[in-house]
């Protein structure tokens, strides 16, 4: 019961991050939101492991944390050197 409540809280926080990633306004806001969405996904997967009572889920969570980090850094490298422009209106 308590775990389900925690899952609902994580999902609510994910919805907030998703809203920010849809609203933007700059591409950096979106990537920040997606990064924090990924962190919450890691927590959600670990929580699902606790609900199911299986430690196997934690490997998935660890791997997801890795991929999330690499994705963010790769996107930032692209934004820095790939010729994307940042302005307050568009998505760059």
């Amino acid at each position: 019961m308590m775990l389900v409540a925690a899952a609902v809280a994580v999902l609510a926080a994910m919805a907030l991050a998703l809203a920010r990633s849809l609203m933007g306004p700059t591409v950096f806001d979106k990537i920040l939101a997606v990064n924090s969405f990924g962190t919450k996904t890691v927590l959600l997967i670990a929580l699902l492991g606790a609900i199911a009572g299986r430690a196997d889920y934690l490997d998935v969570a660890l791997l997801y944390a890795l991929i999330n980090f690499i994705a963010t850094v790769a996107l930032m490298k692209y934004a820095e050197y790939g010729g994307m422009e940042a302005n307050d209106e568009g998505e760059g």
């Binding site: 609510a12 926080a13 950096f28 806001d29 990064n35 924090s36 606790a50 430690a55 940042a86």
Partner: protein, 108 residues
């Protein structure tokens, strides 16, 4: 209810509350650079409390060690990702709005 479950419940509630607060900050703060700080709350204390709560549920097993690994990994990667974001924005010339603009946006 055993004592470890009580501790786990307290930590999970605190962690979830901080997650939601971080999400609210992400929505509410007026500009990219200030939103970065709201993201920091989620990555450090919220994730830490949440994973600590789960570790109390798993008990002294390999699972708890893995949760610790996830936390240490987050502690190492989150400042790197955060810095990469800030630096890329800075290099791209994203500027900080002036004080007046800032307060105006905050009121909205």
């Amino acid at each position: 209810m055993i004592w470890s479950e009580v501790v786990a419940a307290i930590l999970l509630i605190l962690g979830s509350a901080l997650l939601v607060i971080g999400g609210v900050g992400l929505l509410r703060f007026p500009h990219f650079y200030s939103r970065l700080h709201a993201g920091g709350v989620i990555d450090t204390l919220a994730a830490g409390l949440f994973l600590a709560g789960l570790a109390f549920l798993f008990g002294p097993t390999l699972g708890s060690v893995k949760l610790g690994l996830i936390f240490v990994f987050l502690l190492f990667t989150s400042p790197t990702a955060c810095h990469a974001l800030a630096r890329a924005a800075h290099v791209a010339g994203l500027r900080e709005p002036t004080q007046a603009e800032e307060e105006q946006q905050w009121q909205k």
